[in-house]
């Protein structure tokens, strides 16, 4: 439905003609700025594709959510065009620009001459071309028409899927769930709004949305939209199906530069403009999302306002250049406060200041470069967002504020005090630990009267600092001020690393107690001092979570040491070694032949019999690993996990089958133990051995779990180590049957998995906690049964050969270079 309105013609009017293409935010604002400077300078025509007057696009979200009506979001109604004598062509898009004739043609055939042309065509929503993207019921979120389509669908309730967990997608999801639909958000990336947020804030956002009943699927890729004649649901790459009557695609925008391109203007990602918003043709300007300025295209309104001022200045009072804008983002979902500004992907030498307050659900991170603030992410408390943004835009020197800037404007500008003095000055009733409601007086009493001398004593006696840990600093300050010289300062328990005040045991306990399910969640709830941990805590947390939630927790590859990421051992020259499993040390001609073939085919530099009774192939390039694995798989061999904090080898001797002294089938038991436990992730490597008699040819008494077969049954030995510090095993107990030996082994492995610290082998673990409590837990039938059952449960999720998965193509990127540079050939 096209509509043309033209002011009464005046043949004597010789003023230059300005034609604006795009009746949206930028087009109309540029005209407003122009009119404010010189209302009579131009004869103005605005051409708009949408059949409406100029409305506020960003308010489509509240419109969808039912928080606003259309009338409330109109910026300029019909009267504005009339009053300002602006000709409006609406519902009739421009289809061509003839720059030589200086004329715009519209779809209905109208030819509109110009002296100056302003392109303000905005962006197009990106539609990913998956099968079914054109089914009825699939909509974008860009125009009023899209909102109308969504509202029509929402009338009947049911399920909706929003593809894209960015700003737009989440606002669409919010609106639709406010309208009574059950909404699932499908997001390709692991973090929601990954462009504006970091992992920690993204996790908080995800939790809040889930608490409101939305289903959020991250790292989820859409394979197709299915339905017969109409949308019925979305199928993901991993095969999951999500039913839906409505699918909103909100995966991004692309500057709408088609007209400009066809007209032969210079176009990059958007229409290329200079600092005065002039394109490669001096009589054509561009503004808004369709423009590309200094390599940058914007998707928010604040920069557009700046650009519009430059356009109006250039067309009237004299050019004043536009120099680009810093941007900030707020999510318009009522009750959820998210703010992000500046360059989170900033340049070199950035430092982070992080504040986490789990009890209030607050996360703040400031990115500082030198003495300037360059970025900010705020979640839960966004009050200071504008202040940070202002400091950022002004490039203010924040040195005087630095120590307290993270606490916000009121605090930072109020003059900083030494935190120790501040704690000392507090009254006795002041609450120190918010989680457990412990006041200062109670802590002082624990120190002065009950003899608490360490942080752990205070935690044990008062519970202060025992939950989230954020008050560790003040508690230590109180210890120091109360005990004076005699305060040892250091915690008795070593902290996991410098990112946290908690020890390994504390973290493991809290993961289970609080049901924490991801690394960002642990870091948030336990107040990590760094945004994403370090090379010591990330692998530990990844393991603790994997152990606590088998099958449920999604392994984080980037938190693994290279060997466990590549499923091979890195060598000093950057190549890898490959050790296939040889169950119990037994091999066959077929396996040996396959290994020999691999050595020749991939030009391996060496094959070696290892100290663990199997063969190690050396010098394989990371690019060749998947092919090597495919060849080994074809001969029935799987990963030997020689690279993992995992079950390594089970050494055996020949036992009763061949040996004249053998008492039991030590080889068979070794194979069965290996089959039960392979693939399991552990705090550290774990080695086993089974010897057929006390001559102990398999060296079982220096293994993590060793079995010595005797006439009357099986002696079970634990905690041996042949490594850096030699340690003989402790005798755990003796059992009569092979089945018992296997059951006890499962229980012991699980106890070690659940209780040892990451990177602690069984030997130091047993020395730390003592053999007696371990023996008690294994000998008690109920506790043993439960442990063994948990181990079997966990194994159901881990006994997949990682080599086979990768030979089939998983994690391909790990084995290929990003690109190659051959300067000689191309230069």
């Amino acid at each position: 439905m096209s509509r043309h309105w033209t002011p009464p013609a005046d043949p004597a009017d010789a003023r230059p003609r300005l034609v604006v293409i795009g009746n949206g935010m930028a087009g109309c604002r540029a005209v407003e700025e122009l009119l404010a400077r010189d209302p009579d300078r131009y004869r103005i025509t605005i051409i708009g594709a949408e059949p409406h007057v100029n409305y506020n696009r960003i308010m489509l979200s509240p419109l969808l959510a039912g928080e606003k009506s259309f009338d409330e979001i109109v910026i300029n109604d019909a009267g504005w065009y009339e009053e300002n004598k602006i000709a409006l062509v609406s519902g009739d898009p421009a289809v061509a620009v003839d720059r030589r004739a200086k004329r715009v043609t519209t779809r209905s055939g109208a030819a509109i001459p110009y002296d100056k042309l302003l392109l303000a065509t905005g962006s197009d929503p990106v539609i990913i071309p998956v099968p079914g993207h054109d089914l009825p019921g699939v909509v974008a979120f860009r125009e009023l028409a899209d909102v109308d389509a969504m509202l029509a669908a929402a009338e009947d309730g049911g399920e909706a899927v929003v593809i894209g967990g960015g700003l737009l997608g989440l606002e669409a999801a919010h609106g639709l769930s406010r309208r009574g639909m059950r909404v699932t958000v499908v997001h390709l990336m692991p973090t929601l709004m990954e462009r504006q947020l970091d992992e920690a804030a993204g996790w908080l956002l995800k939790s809040s949305l889930e608490a409101r009943g939305q289903t959020i699927l991250t790292s989820a890729s859409t394979r197709e939209i299915y339905g017969g004649g109409r949308v019925e649901g979305v199928r993901l790459e991993d095969g999951r199906e999500v039913p839906a009557r409505l699918v909103v695609m909100a995966v991004g925008i692309r500057p709408n530069a088609a007209l400009a391109r066809e007209a032969g203007l210079e176009v990059g990602r958007g229409v290329v403009v200079d600092d005065h918003m002039v394109t490669s043709d001096p009589d054509v300007l561009a503004v808004g999302e369709c423009a590309e300025h200094r390599g940058q295209c914007y998707g928010l309104v604040a920069p557009i306002w700046d650009m519009c001022r430059a356009v109006a200045d250039g067309l009237t009072t004299g050019p004043r250049p536009y120099a680009g804008s810093a941007v900030s983002t707020k999510l318009k979902v009522s009750g959820i406060d998210v703010f992000s500004a500046g360059d989170l992907a900033g340049g070199a030498g950035c430092e982070d200041i992080v504040l986490r307050d789990a009890a209030r659900g607050v996360y703040k991170r400031l990115i500082v470069q030198g003495e300037r603030l360059v970025g900010a992410v705020l979640y839960g408390d966004t009050e200071d967002g504008n202040w940070y943004f202002q400091l950022l835009r002004e490039g203010a020197d924040i040195a005087p504020l630095r120590d307290n800037i993270i606490f916000g404007r009121a605090f930072a500008e109020g003059g900083a005090a030494d935190p120790k003095d501040a704690v000392a000055a507090l009254p006795d009733e002041a609450e120190i630990c918010g989680c457990n409601g412990v006041c200062k007086g109670r802590i002082i009493a624990a120190i002065a009267e009950q003899g608490a001398a360490t942080l752990d004593d205070v935690r044990a006696l008062t519970k202060a600092s025992a939950s989230c840990g954020s008050c560790t600093g003040p508690v230590e300050a109180l210890l120091a001020s109360t005990l004076g010289e005699s305060y040892a300062g250091e915690r008795a328990v070593r902290t996991m690393c410098k990112c946290t005040s908690f020890g390994h045991g504390d973290v493991r306990r809290e993961i289970v107690a609080q049901g924490m399910k991801s690394i960002p969640e642990v870091m948030h709830k336990l107040h990590w001092a760094t945004p994403d941990g370090c090379a010591s805590c990330r692998p530990a947390l990844n393991y603790y979570l994997l152990c606590a939630w088998p099958g449920d927790y999604a392994d984080d590859e980037q938190s693994r040491f290279v060997n466990e990421r590549l499923h091979a051992n890195i060598q000093k020259d950057g190549t890898y070694s490959v050790v296939p499993r040889m169950w119990g040390g037994i091999t066959s001609p077929k396996e040996l032949r396959a290994i020999a073939d691999v050595v020749e085919k991939y030009d391996a530099k060496m094959v070696k019999v290892t100290g663990g009774q199997r063969l190690d192939i050396f010098g394989i390039r990371k690019e060749d690993l998947p092919a090597v694995w495919a060849d080994l798989n074809a001969a029935g061999m799987v990963s030997g996990h020689a690279y993992g904090k995992a079950l390594r080898t089970v050494k055996t001797c020949v036992g009763s089958e061949w040996c004249r002294f053998g008492t039991q089938d030590s080889t068979g038991l070794g194979v069965r133990l290996e089959q039960m436990s392979w693939g399991s992730w552990m705090p550290h490597k774990f080695k086993m051995a089974v010897s057929g008699c006390p001559r102990n040819c398999a060296e079982a008494t220096i293994k993590d779990f060793g079995v010595i077969c005797v006439d009357s049954g099986y002696e079970l030995h634990v905690g041996g180590n042949g490594g850096i510090r030699l340690r003989g095993t402790d005798l755990l107990c003796k059992v009569e049957t092979e089945a018992e030996a296997i059951e006890y082994c499962a229980a012991f492995v699980q106890l070690y998995r659940e209780e040892a610290h990451y990177l602690e082998r069984t030997a130091p673990w047993i020395e730390r906690v003592g053999i007696e409590p371990i023996r008690a837990r294994i000998l008690d039938p109920a506790s043993r049964g439960a442990l063994a059952e948990r181990f079997r449960q966990s194994q159901r999720h881990s006994q997949h050969d990682p080599w086979a998965q990768r030979a089939r193509g998983r994690d391909r990127h790990l084995h290929h270079h990003l690109a190659e540079v051959r300067p000689k050939e191309n230069a």
């Binding site: 990954e194 000093k572 690109a819 540079v821 191309n826």
Partner: protein
């Protein structure tokens, strides 16, 4: 493949090809391999793919904050400066890198200049 080598910048491909908190390697014919890193916060850095200690491939290390822990002996190297952190002393050359329209690009002079 658009690997234009004629401009001032060498195009390596879309930023998504580098995992968050990860790195990818870029061999240079006649020169030293380069490691391109993407931090958890999405910052991008490039270094010669060689630890100043004993030439460990830094691209295979664990990336945390703006640092990488070398996979061989765990030296921690600053991605911004290439300097070893803490008590360790050494420096690996940094390479100018930028992200334009979602694509990673290396400064041509920095790469080719290093290729003998």
């Amino acid at each position: 493949m658009d690997r234009s080598l004629f401009g001032e910048w060498l195009d390596l491909g879309p930023i998504e090809d580098i995992p968050l908190r990860g790195a990818r390697s870029v061999p240079v014919q006649g020169g030293e391999e380069i490691a391109v890193f993407r931090t958890g916060e999405g910052r991008v850095y490039a270094l010669v793919n060689k630890c100043p200690h004993r030439a460990g491939p830094l691209s295979q290390g664990i990336v945390h904050g703006d640092k990488v822990a070398c996979p061989l002996h765990n030296w921690v190297i600053s991605l911004a400066t290439g300097q070893a952190e803490g008590a360790d002393i050494g420096c690996t050359p940094t390479i100018e890198v930028r992200v334009v329209s979602g694509r990673v690009q290396l400064k041509r002079a920095a790469v080719v200049g290093r290729a003998a």
